[in-house]
Symmetry: C2
Subunit: 733 residues, 2 copies
């Protein structure tokens, strides 16, 4: 097999060079090489960084012990989850191979590769994060802020660059592979096979993000209820059998989950643009393949990210926040310059570069908005969190109602940001008169390019994001060790910068998924039109299509409810286990014998998947059924309804959750008047707000993005199957 | 003017009778007469009932005193609100008269009449309710359950029959009037003038429902915070300056608000069907006017309601719940029989009767669903409220999260019910081959008829609903008087039946508004096509239209947030006033001097309107702006996005709020284990859940219906203006 591919590759290269009339193929090869090499560069830099970080000092014995437990816990989680996911992947691959009349096998293979690529990226990120925390703590204890920041950020960049690199290498290698194995096949069909890769990445991301979210909140809630409330032992006490599960949870949700989420959005954005571009290529004779251009744009963003990562270094003892921001600015500007230069050199309409930059600006704007709604400063006197602190002083209900209202309001600017990017890039792409661009298809392609642009610098964004949980853990470790006061202050500063980065990334992830889904929506419509040879009009004034839109709107709603109720049920199981351990071995509470941490991790992990599996299968099933029964246009309405409601729900839940969290932090901070006559009451109110917000922001909110990508890809991937069933059903009535 | 109308009327009648070729006009006259007479019948029965009820015994002095304070408070509220609303109405009427090139004056006049009709209905309902409560209490004290039920239900029926009657009389009288004044004008234009009537009803309903919602929660919250928390005086203590405002609030929100809400939905549903029917009439030559048929269907429902109201009487000392249900069943069946008979006699396709019945069944189903999600029994082992009680035993956060999740889930069956009614009536209407029906327009018309059918029996539904607050108040009055234990038990039974009726009506109101809005959506599209002479395709795959849908989706979100935050701000003002009264006159707390109740009512009333006015103007403005800038098709997307998100939000908030309320009631009920070691804690958790739920279910949730109707009518009414501005803007760029 490998030999066949290599020999065909060589044969193809010879054909390309010997046939000058096939000049476009030359640019294809160029584009693919750029993508492949940039991807490899990112992966190599990530691996090199990993080696450098691993050589750093691991700290004293106590640091090592605490960190080791978390690392082992994360390993258990990964082992259990990946075992189940492997079965799921192989099962679904067999289904795909069977139900697809054409190209079932290549789609199934792409799907398997996509799943394992996502799992691999998540594994590496988690492995680095759980080993970097003690090294960051050690660096803080010995060298202070500067060296600690360097370790933490470099470690975070392993995950960031890895997912950017794997996306590029995966997509371009698969394209080359299917091109070589199926010579002469049209580009749109090649990309349809590769849709399997994106589908694999997204289903794994859904498990990583939503499953991780259920895991982390299960552990958190159970540890608190049995530990703090029933047994009156402190939070994070090592006697609590759920303590390690709780610590693992942060890494599982924030590192592996967010990484998988950004990875799948990035792949989906590139794929949507490629599908639309391949449609343009098929319609017009062009000097360059629009189908491969998205890979080049993503590659430029990855190069900018690699450079950006190495330029992030704070001044000694400074607040590291500005350094992180500097990294973002530099990478953004660098990407802008690169993309304009390359588009000009290639002689492609500058509109493409402008759309990519619009997308990136929209992403930055959404991240900024999330920050305004969740930080303690606000903007221009509009201070949601400060107002929520005042409401916490009144009552729990006032705090919850105001947080919920600000969460709703936070959707407004973000949605408007996405609308502006959408409409502006569409206008640019549709009014230009360049070869191949212009008109409806040109406009839609520009929208897809905006999505690619938004995600192009994901290598850097994800580096900043992964940095957060690493310093958060490092802070926990250093508190439990015998480090100096200075080291703790350094870690606090690192942590504060990490929290802001996390808030921004959360908004960024939601915005990027939303615009990727819009691009996928357009790609779905194009693909459906190509398939049935008729225009697809998603006219929601048609009752069938409106019914589809309503069903779509119910999907994120139901998914959210099932996740939150799932946490509740799963916590019930884990509470039983913790109580059982305390009952069976009284030595645990006395501190004389070790609790069985692994058992709790296993319950949280398998329970999370058990809660999630039905929802996932239902979501995929409802998507296929809606299209099969109501038709492809109603399926378009379904996707539209889902993204309308889902985007708003995701923003509401993430931002309300973040705002409640920071309200509690403000009330706990030294600036707040701790001598207030009702301080205990007020603090308890804020804790309740945070408890409501936890599953909002860590379980449901950010999972909705991934859900939207999964259903969009389900519609696009299973399109031929759905059209077939619908035709058969229509014939029956 | 009056003489002119009368003389023209006579002239028209002569023309009708003298011109046999104008036979269709004969049926027009018949249809209008049926509608007008049924409406007058309902109003006369309501007035007669009012006289009968007012003759009943008013109870002892103590009952009279308490009730009188509430009655006076309600009067103050009405006076202040209606003064502001009159200014608002007249101002908007002038705007309408100016901006409309054609028929500005008749539209403005229709608008003024619609506004005052809604205010009048609300006034009568409130007047009856606040006088009936003491009479119900007196009947319970003297005659027991049976007589008390009779008084309460008959009083409720005054409001119910009044709104049904005013809708019929208003619409048919306006039609006749404009027909006579503008002889020879086409029916669609007549209905467009009458759109003003519906717009007036809806804007007043928005103030009544949302303003009433802000009022009642402002009073509730402020009374609790200053009274219970700061001064430690009991709830409802007459020393509290906000006590009467609090009691008035229930009547204001539940009687006047819900009445205005159902009234406006009913008028909007009939109007939408009439607009679509008039379009059918204009296209085909038909023996009967489809434009007037909706009035006949609504008239049949009103006749069924009048009969149903007089058949509701419980067996002596029985639970009155079955009697209420019996009334609903009888009215529903009677309506079904009448509508089938009349449609058959007229020789119109039976499909029309089937659609009307589908609509009614959908309404009953949605009401039933709301009940399952909020009562303490559940269905088939699915027991949301019981599960929430278990969560209340864990923590406040668990209770809030589970209530929120069940609220989300409660949207699923209701939305599916609406979809089924929508698609089924469309299929029926589009596949029939009767004259005029069939095809796209026939299908859409059948959908609008389903909306009319759903609301046809609103006379009875609203009677059961108004009954609720009357017995609720009666229970409060009887507790404060020296009545026997038996009388209190009788009132408790009446109250329990009232709560179930209220839960069902709340769901019913949301469902009816949703399907009315869908009918209005179709009417908007038809009207827009007629206006610009081109097909309107609301294709959400088009970025401009998708942008419109996103903006529309933001409208209910923003409105909800502004309402909830508005309650918070308004309560702040009222808390200041209560504190001021206590400070200035210490005699109030000692019980030696009377607090200034009216001042609190004034603050709550004018504050509510002050919070609501900007939102209302913004909502109307954004609707007009979206259409003017992005075009009519994007305005279609806007309406679609608003109804998708708004319908789900309304169900979520109403049902979650109801479930939290009943969770608290279950924990307070004698069946719950009051000796639980943490009972106080658990009860406090449930109180917090109820506090979060109050603005959900009484302020934001039910206002969203009305909001959706208002924006749909804004789009339809201002269509020519919007089209004009858009054309002008398009010409500029």
């Amino acid at each position: 097999m490998v030999r066949l591919v290599i020999s065909r590759c060589i044969a193809m290269s010879i054909i390309w060079f010997e046939n000058p009339q096939q000049e476009p193929a030359m640019s294809d090869l160029l584009f693919l090489s750029i993508s492949l090499l940039s991807g490899l560069l990112a992966i190599l830099v990530a691996l090199y960084t990993y080696r450098v970080v691993m050589r750093a000092d691991e700290g004293d014995k106590r640091m090592h012990e605490v960190s080791r437990l978390i690392q082992d816990g994360a390993d258990s989680f990964i082992k259990i989850q990946y075992r189940i996911l492997t079965f799921f992947t192989l099962f679904l691959a067999v289904v795909i191979a069977i139900v697809f009349v054409d190209y079932g096998i290549p789609i199934a293979i792409s799907y398997i590769i996509g799943s394992f690529a996502s799992m691999g990226a998540g594994y590496i990120g988690l492995a680095v994060a759980t080993q970097a925390n003690r090294r960051t703590a050690a660096a803080a204890a010995e060298g202070g802020l500067g060296p600690a920041f360097k370790i933490a950020f470099r470690s975070g960049s392993v995950m960031g660059l890895m997912i950017a690199g794997i996306a590029l290498v995966g997509l371009s290698a698969l394209y080359l592979m299917w091109f070589v194995i199926f010579p002469g096949i049209a580009a749109p069909f090649l990309w349809e096979m590769i849709t399997g890769f994106s589908f694999g990445a997204s289903t794994v991301a859904l498990f990583a993000k939503a499953g991780g979210g259920i895991f982390t909140k299960t552990a958190d809630m159970s540890a608190d209820i049995v530990g703090k409330i029933e047994q009156h032992i402190p939070e994070d006490d090592p006697r609590n059998p759920a303590a390690i599960a709780d610590a693992v949870g942060d890494n599982v949700g924030d590192v592996a989950g967010t990484g998988a989420d950004i990875f799948d959005s990035n792949v989906a954005a590139i794929l949507a643009a490629a599908l639309l571009g391949a449609g343009l290529d098929a319609t017009f004779a062009l000097p360059y393949a629009f189908g491969l251009l998205p890979l080049v744009i993503a590659a430029l963003g990855t190069i900018a990210s690699v450079i950006g990562v190495y330029l992030v270094r704070p001044n000694e003892q400074d607040d590291p926040g500005p350094a992180l921001n500097r990294g973002t600015y530099i990478t953004t500007i660098l990407f802008g310059v690169l993309v304009v230069a390359v588009i000009l050199i290639l002689g492609i309409d500058i509109v493409i570069a402008a759309s990519a930059i619009f997308g990136l600006l929209a992403g930055v704007f959404i991240g900024f908005t999330s920050d305004v709604f969740t930080n303690d400063k606000g903007l221009f006197g509009f201070q949601p969190v400060r107002n929520m602190v005042e409401n916490a002083e009144k009552s729990t209900a006032n705090l919850i109602l105001s947080g919920y209202s600000y969460g709703l309001l936070s959707a407004v600017p973000s949605v408007i940001g996405v609308i502006v990017a959408l409409v502006a890039s569409f206008i640019l792409g549709s009014t230009t008169t360049s070869l191949g661009l212009g008109g409806w298809m040109g406009g839609i392609y520009a929208v897809a390019i905006a999505a690619v642009g938004l995600l192009a610098t994901n290598g850097l964004t994800m580096s900043s994001d992964s940095y957060g949980p690493i310093v958060d853990n490092a802070r926990g470790i250093i508190e439990q060790s015998n480090a100096s006061e200075e080291a703790i202050i350094a870690c606090d500063k690192l942590d504060a910068a990490g929290n802001t980065a996390k808030a921004i990334t959360k908004g960024f992830a939601i915005g990027s998924a939303a615009i990727s889904v819009l691009a996928l929506f357009a790609a779905f419509v194009e693909a459906a039109e190509m398939l049935i040879g008729e225009e697809i009009i998603v006219n929601i004034a048609d009752p069938f299509i409106l019914a589809g839109a309503f069903i779509g709107a119910l999907v994120p709603i139901t998914f959210t409810a099932m996740l939150i109720l799932g946490v509740d049920r799963n916590a019930g199981r884990m509470i039983e286990e913790i109580r059982r351990q305390f009952r069976v071995d009284p030595g645990i509470l006395e501190g004389t014998s070790k609790p069985d941490y692994d058992k709790c991790i296993e319950i949280a992990t398998s329970g999370a998947i058990r809660e999630l599996m039905p929802s996932t299968i239902i979501v995929i099933g409802v998507t296929i059924l809606t299209g099969s029964i109501l038709g492809l246009e109603a399926l378009g309405g379904y996707l539209g309804g889902a993204v309308l409601v889902g985007f708003i729900m995701a923003l509401l839940m993430s931002n309300a959750g973040g705002a409640w969290d920071n309200t509690k932090k403000m009330i706990e901070s030294p600036e707040y008047d701790h001598d207030h006559p009702r301080y205990d009451q007020i603090h308890r109110n804020s804790v309740r707000g945070d408890m409501v917000g936890d599953p909002f922001k860590d379980t449901a909110g950010p999972s909705i993005n991934t859900l939207l990508v999964v259903i969009s890809l389900t519609a696009t991937l299973f399109l031929p199957v759905i059209a077939h069933i619908h035709q058969w059903l229509s014939g029956m009535f």
